[in-house]
Amino acid sequence: MTPVLQLKGITKRFPGVLANDHIDLTLNEGEILALLGENGAGKSTLMNILYGLYQPDEGEIYVRGQKITVHSPLDAIRAGIGMVHQHFMLIPVFTVTENVMLGAETVRMGDFLDREKTAQRIREISERYHLEVDPYAYVRDLPVGVQQRVEIIKLLFREADILIFDEPTAVLTPQEADELFVIMRELVKQGKSIIFITHKLREVLEISDRIMVIRRGKVVGETTPAEADKAKLAEMMVGRTVRLEVEKEIAKAGEVVLEVRDLVVADAQKQITVDGVSFDVRAGEILGVAGVQGNGQTELVEAVTGLRHPISGTIRLLGEDVTHATPRKITELGCAHVPEDRQRDGLVLTFPVSDNIALCTYYKPPFARGIRIQEQEILKTAEKLIQDFDIRTPGPLVNVGNLSGGNQQKVIVAREFSRPIRLLVASQPTRGLDVGSIEYIHKRIVEKRDEGCAVLLVSSELDEIMELSDRIAVMYRGKIVAIVPAEQATKNYIGLLMAGVSPEQAGAPQVGERVVESTL
């Protein structure tokens, strides 16, 4: 039988990088092929070539044995290829129907939109593939998981039968991810073929029929879930043995370092996003804040670090009231902040590594004497930290913007962790990083805890929270719905709380049910 899709010798060069190096890929009808690789391995480039967003330098594409050229997404759509993009290609102010019909509108009387007819088709598709959605809802009102369904419906509406999912679970709760897998199974059962791009090992083993691993633009191996396990896949992906689980001892919690009481914070749009939150973080423990993104975590962290003024409530750091203190005051009391968006809030991208390392303390000796900056001191410190924190950079004077994501994060970690700190606030510390860097950052966070630092860890990766935290707080719509000791938390229970199910309905967690999953 001819494969549905065949890529032969696809090569793509970007200035200075060989993003795809003679990649061959075969997709058979009715299968889910997982494309596994680290960030920057070339998965997305390959799929963008297939979808017509990039032009390959070499190589050929065959659909059902027919050679095709894909110059634009339109060519791909015509060939029956559809893509669910990592960042949704939906227009928030349009309805589901308008989003689905865009580019393939049903019209009557010349050019007038026939919304009802499209809505009817959407209902049919919904029913057939179990993709529940209201055709007349505005996309901005839908939760992320439902938005993703709209993306899938968009492809089915165009009668695509080769579906590409680019990191589809990155934005989903565990329950939503499970629902997505059910949908994907349903799709292949009805004759669609799927390419599933990811760097999460657990998902690959759970859903795929076949696994292809890419590293540095090359195919390094092919396997099946039956033959492979996590350790083997991680090794193929990274090119060396990786320790998947964080080793840590039971926490020895000390005195209260951070005390938050009845905190209310509004976002830039004046909407209350943190709604009466209270918790403590003690020295030597990690409090993990779990929650789907956008449930107030960002504003909570901003309030604690002094970047946003709370409306009411109190924040105490080492017994001192810092509710309305300046960020510098809070920093000087010993608070370190690893921000959510490292490129925007954590670094000055056009400054060299050395200056970024000095950013928190540049005004104090030894970096400053009077009003003069001591360049030599900064350089010396930077060189030492580059060694200590294993930052891969050609030198301390290279602009931070030129480093990889993992190394940028290491610059922040080096800056924040090398000070004497009492509280560490880490927000999405490993977002978008490769396996090696994740492993490194996790190790460092646990080290800080063991030194007696209080850690407030915010992450939308449930696995990361489960793995690192000593206690887990779940945020939903601006409230902390529960704080659970880590040994009592199960993934399922926390996942339900994240989705807004009340603790009573979610059922008390069973001791001993906990399964440590890796973040990969």
């Binding site: 963008n48 979808y51 967003l53 990039y54 634009s72 997404p73 339109l74 759509i77 893509m83 993009h85 290609m89 939906l90 227009i91 928030p92 102010v93 349009f94 308008e98 019909m101 865009l102 580019g103 393939a104 509108e105 019209v107 050019d111 007038f112 939109l113 179990h130 993709l131 529940e132 959605v133 009102d141 839908l142 939760p143 998981g145 439902v146 968009k154 329950q175 499970d178 629902e179 059910v182 949908i183 509004a266 004046k270 909407q271 209350i272 709604d275 719509r477 601006g478 989705a499 807004g500």
Partner: protein, 424 residues
Amino acid sequence: MATSTIVIHRKKVEVISPTRQRATGIIEILLGVLIFLFFRRTEPGMVARFVMTPGGLDRGAAPDWLIPAYSTLLVLAILTVILGLVQVWRGFGRWMNLVLSVVVGLTVFSFLTWATAGKSLNLVGMLSAAILLGVPIILGAFSGVLSERAGVVNIAIEGMMLMAAMVGALVGSVTKNMWVGLLAAMLSSMLLALIHGVLSIHYKINQIISGTVINIFSAGLSSYLSAKFLQTYQQLNNPPIFPRIPIPLLADIPVIGPLFFNTNLFVYIMLISLIVIQVALFSTRWGLRLRAVGEHPKAADTLGINVFATRYMAVLLSGLMAGIGGAFFTLGSVGRFDEMMTAGKGFIGLAAMIFGNWTPLGAFGAGLLFGFADSVATKLTILGTGIPTQFMAMAPYIVTMIVLAGVVGRGQMPAADGTPYEKE
């Protein structure tokens, strides 16, 4: 099948804040006091005579409207203060903005009643002037809607209108044909739009800068040509103007007829454009794609929509509308070109577009409001109220600002407005 549909509705805390509720109430009370001051300056038995047929027209005549100024003002003052007090105490909730608009409307009406008390004012004539004054503003606003809905900020409307006004006058005078003049005006404006498109879409130059460059260029070139030729050789600056065209039957309806159906070609173009653009933007494939390009160009691109072509088309159409708006100055009203004669109407058009929340219908309403403000100021200066004319000219804008700040909530600008699209 476990497809649960948990719909997260973010908690909307956008209830009207107590401060805003009270501030609105106090403004309403103050307006009520203002009406009361008008009342204090009238005598019992004074009658305000509003003439309901514009001067020089005999079709669609309506009898004059006589208002007892004294009692009317007292009633309106009391009503307004009561509304203000209720607003301070309890608030009207989601009706707040509507009540505020009504109060502002009552204030304007009271002001006219007081100014007219014991005299007569041609109300429909004033409204008719308001519409004509609104034409360039509204056409400018439509021009902005078309281009910004596709994601290109067009600050060059002023310059396009100025150039079109000059070219329209020149070509109209030379050919002695107003239609050819109008066509030339549209083409000149579209040429400028094309330049704006090439600079901001193709070369991705900052759209504000590109627009400003065009404004400066138009001001310079039109002034130069005007000084050098149009003002020197009067035969080059004497275009024929479009006459009043009464529409059979409709023109005979009292009040409405004279205002909308026995008027200038440009008013008809404006009304037709309003309907056409409103329907086209929100009910056709063309409009859906245009708006998609202005909201999320990358999404449109992945669905096979040509972002660049769509934006060029939108900007050219924007130029077309601005061209008609510009031609109105020379071919529709004055009949000659003077330097800088657009006098910022293009910018006011942009304000009307924002005020109208980037919709043709809203922009139309806003443009009428601005036109009305202008018209009130001119008419009442003639009527003589004892208020210095400069303040008379200001007052309508102050009222407009209150409405802008109070009534218009956060507008919804197209998400990709002003951002050049970079194809990877």
